[in-house]
Symmetry: D2
Subunit: 366 residues, 4 copies
Amino acid sequence: MTTSTFGRMFSVVNFGESHGPAIGCVIDGCPPGMELSVGDIQPDLDRRKPGTSRHVTQRREPDVVQILSGVYEGRTTGTPIALLIRNEDQRSRDYEDLIDTFRPGHADYTYWRKYGLRDARGGGRSSARLTAPMVAAGAVARKWLRLHFGTTIRGHLQQLGEIEIPFEDWEEVGRNPFFAPNRSVIARLEQYMDELRKAGDSCGARVRVCAQSVPAGLGAPLAAKLDAEIAGAMMGINAVKGVEIGSGFGVVTQRGSQHSDEMTPQGFLSNHAGGTLGGISSGQDIEVSIALKPTSSIRLPRRSVNRNLQAVTVVTQGRHDPCVGIRATPIAEAMLALVLMDHALLHRGQNADVHLDVPAIPARAP
Amino acid sequence: MTTSTFGRMFSVVNFGESHGPAIGCVIDGCPPGMELSVGDIQPDLDRRKPGTSRHVTQRREPDVVQILSGVYEGRTTGTPIALLIRNEDQRSRDYEDLIDTFRPGHADYTYWRKYGLRDARGGGRSSARLTAPMVAAGAVARKWLRLHFGTTIRGHLQQLGEIEIPFEDWEEVGRNPFFAPNRSVIARLEQYMDELRKAGDSCGARVRVCAQSVPAGLGAPLAAKLDAEIAGAMMGINAVKGVEIGSGFGVVTQRGSQHSDEMTPQGFLSNHAGGTLGGISSGQDIEVSIALKPTSSIRLPRRSVNRNLQAVTVVTQGRHDPCVGIRATPIAEAMLALVLMDHALLHRGQNADVHLDVPAIPARAP
Amino acid sequence: MTTSTFGRMFSVVNFGESHGPAIGCVIDGCPPGMELSVGDIQPDLDRRKPGTSRHVTQRREPDVVQILSGVYEGRTTGTPIALLIRNEDQRSRDYEDLIDTFRPGHADYTYWRKYGLRDARGGGRSSARLTAPMVAAGAVARKWLRLHFGTTIRGHLQQLGEIEIPFEDWEEVGRNPFFAPNRSVIARLEQYMDELRKAGDSCGARVRVCAQSVPAGLGAPLAAKLDAEIAGAMMGINAVKGVEIGSGFGVVTQRGSQHSDEMTPQGFLSNHAGGTLGGISSGQDIEVSIALKPTSSIRLPRRSVNRNLQAVTVVTQGRHDPCVGIRATPIAEAMLALVLMDHALLHRGQNADVHLDVPAIPARAP
Amino acid sequence: MTTSTFGRMFSVVNFGESHGPAIGCVIDGCPPGMELSVGDIQPDLDRRKPGTSRHVTQRREPDVVQILSGVYEGRTTGTPIALLIRNEDQRSRDYEDLIDTFRPGHADYTYWRKYGLRDARGGGRSSARLTAPMVAAGAVARKWLRLHFGTTIRGHLQQLGEIEIPFEDWEEVGRNPFFAPNRSVIARLEQYMDELRKAGDSCGARVRVCAQSVPAGLGAPLAAKLDAEIAGAMMGINAVKGVEIGSGFGVVTQRGSQHSDEMTPQGFLSNHAGGTLGGISSGQDIEVSIALKPTSSIRLPRRSVNRNLQAVTVVTQGRHDPCVGIRATPIAEAMLALVLMDHALLHRGQNADVHLDVPAIPARAP
């Protein structure tokens, strides 16, 4: 069961706490023979890491990954790949005041009720820092998917607080600190964030992630539907409160004649489904959108209680992301990669003998 | 891995197809000694079953459940509980025309790509009929949760197409065929559905489901977060395209000072989180909202392809729900019950020794 | 986790009790497209079923299997295959006297301690009758293995009480009620059993099971070693107390120079390993031997206790196998088939891309 | 599925290779609040580590364990405990000659067939060195079991080659390099090993492991029987070829009137069952015996093949255990601890509400 393990066949067990000696993960089930080095993983970690602009937390973590096992002479061996990231910047004194206090909107209170104790340093196990090993594991999955199917998995910020960000082009995403796909909004985003920081407050965000060139047939009825597993993976990302596949909540006001994507020999005519039908990939783009709540760590005073259930006021100091959604893009990409990878292996385990003599319907009609 | 099994400790494996001889499930891990009879399960199945009003499919299925194992002298024994529901109304001739055609918006095409074949009768395994065993299993979970924690799990229709349904009271939900919590909108809903049926089209819906009296401490970091598992379970329900916990997509435009729920010794002051913090239940109400797409089986002509990838036009006859969202309420309740039950057992397996001498914060301040 | 589910990818969840309405199983993960009918399964069930000779229990159970799902137009669909066997001969009055008494050597006491209650009718869930669904599932696995790899899985009685049964030929196994591979010992076995029955006592047995034409590469380090999973599956069969792979306990007095099987281009020169090296199949025959304890249900008086922990004397009436080992052969074959099948799918899920341009070493040198 | 993960609720994922940078494991599911430090783990590792006498491999590995996560202020937090052991003595040049050769009796050939490549250094992943993380994890389980139930888990060498070692007392086990429970045989064992080493050969062994004060009720029908899981765990230890519970293969020639353990209010009168009935612990001692094959790495020449399937002769140099069974005792203890721990948590997860007002039968009558 292993409540820290993602995936069935390409499985990732995650360990560590925000301010412990190290965080990391063990990937089990990776196919053998794939070239793999730190160079395949570090770039994704660098995209996620803190301290890269004034709009994210100023904690300094180089997030340098080490491969401890599962790679021999530059290739995966098929045995567990252990990835280790040492924690460097452990200013835990920031948290000393909080040791007996539950911060509103944080997991402090629930961890305490569950485990009878908590690691108060930076959220301990509940810190978003623990997404780093998932990003590292996701990089391995992503490489395999790219090599096998030509799959590309990309994400971008879709909305920051009230500011919607119209999609312009993928190239721009890597050029600004917001993962925004539209150059013209960057200045507005910067100003918005600067004001927010000054106000000591935080804001929510919306992130879209999309996988292209995913083969039809991934996913399985009923407890392992591809969209269900994607939804679970996304909702498991820190701060996520909503997940949509394809048209998402837009379907409520759609008609059947409008929603269901027509097929022609030349391709699908639309993609309201977001790439899955009956929980199985259709070959269309997997389209996912997630909502991330505003950071709960803010400088404004909040009412709360302490361990003795006495009323207290909490003001969070320390170095926090005023919008956790900004750094969520590489995380969401990684989680999507992990789900797809797992299902690629599951699928061929069961269905490797299925051979159809008719080609798949193209993802979209020209 | 078992891609048809939900849950780790209270696990449910589901089997059957829409038009095969029977559907059912096996529940493994149910605690022993609980009184259980068909009378505990059948009422929930009856709420879900087809043919109860003119607004849902006219297929006639009594959905009578039999308990084949795991109950002895009226009590659960702790061993697997097999539940069987015979299929009675198997008018598969309705589907003869479709045997070589992929219906847009259905799983026909994806099943074929995955398995190399498909059961064309009523969607086979992909039919929403397969939610019946989950409802049956959910009834068992729900009873245990009620007996142990006093948990109540209830749902209602929140929106039908364009019509929003303001919450009025829970009592009304059981009195109308829409699971609508507001008597004043029933006439409008009926008229809306009648027009839709006449038009041969279908519409989407939004359903809310809520669990009260859930103890704090259920769920686990990182791969078994309670909200993540709820999201996965909900997205796995047929036709669901979006899931929200608490404020859901509303968080995008919230501020941290607004979103994070303040705590006082008298209780939480709000519930934007929807009952989970860091993936662990807080003792507040679990609040979930889901979006269901319009039925893809409509009488309006749609472009599609057949098994030889030739262009065809599809017009779906047969007896279909013009809004699958209507019957989704008991299904969503059941899925929520299953997730909570599983985590209740997981939690005490690991943490039965945790004893805090301070009471939990009340779900909401008076 | 599902403590009633065998297997990861080809998984079988088993349900039912000896004297409940039905027993059965759900197979999840079977590859699609394989021809399958009751005719593939019933023969194995018939080999296991009671009442076929005077040397086994006289309970009359036809053990007729029904396929409830997962097969469409004579082929597996890739979705769960539910198999149902109705219990017919439920003379539970035989057990009325025992309802408050724990029979020595039986699971009565342990079930009661675990669950707080027990189904006293024929051992309930702990009955060897529950091996029938495993035999049924094993027949499905066996067929797939035969079609894909030409694998044959066969077993026979190796020892009955003190009587060792030298292996003569496989053909004889199906011709006598003992699964004995040697015609010349049958008369002795019959006399032995008749005397035992007269004495009201029971005896142990040893069964060998062997799989040929198993491809190299099945199994995985470290928690899914093929031999470890075989050992687990075998020890899980009712009454089994010992398991050997290859030379088994004989290795204790072997030298390394004697045990390790030499390899030549023409084939392995011996098979002390029993077909696995490092937990992975080598292409040699999988050789397994198991020890089965004497039936605990005997007519001789035994000291025991009742539910109030008072001393009682137990004399078991009813219809019992005087040697459970006799009917164990098809069960052990089925369990071996299930483990191999599961690993065949797991292996190709992870390693489908591995292609060696050198042929495998033949199982044995000519 | 995670083929490198042992256990369902107290789960251990193992990583690393013999000559990679590090080996280790991640324990998920450990109950929170238990005091834990390196001092609880290192002693067991020291008992297993190489180089402690002339009768075992001379490789020098300090096997120093580090706790990377899951422990805060000296107590377990309930979140994953990552344990790391750096490899220090990596004389991989010993293996250069072997890079293209398959050593008989080793996993070289099977890993190559499975993965298409192999890590030739010291057996890579198939090395017995990978039992070290299991010993470390077992130490954590053992501590919890001791604190909760007073469980003690102890093992000893029962036979070395032809020399049977009559059990004398547990105290002696820790005083000699053989884990032998009998002082009078030590001189003979030393002489035997010296001769074997001179001859360049190796020998098998038999190890017994025993758990006392195990509560009744652990284990579950049918796929998670306690004895089945113990058998799987034991057969998964490197070099194990046979497993017995209780009377083991002795049951073949027993009568029912002899085997089934009588019960009295004062206690069980014998323990042929070895502590489990129907796959569930009875409260009696868990008695396990395992057979370990002679080391395949010997200095005597052996016929084999290389990667091109050409005939070669192999003579293994390097530093090897002439009897791997000697160091197996702490490993077998650890594996038994892991299985019991897992089932202790599983059991209370499902059955925490079971309360019997009658005490358990004592393990043995006075």
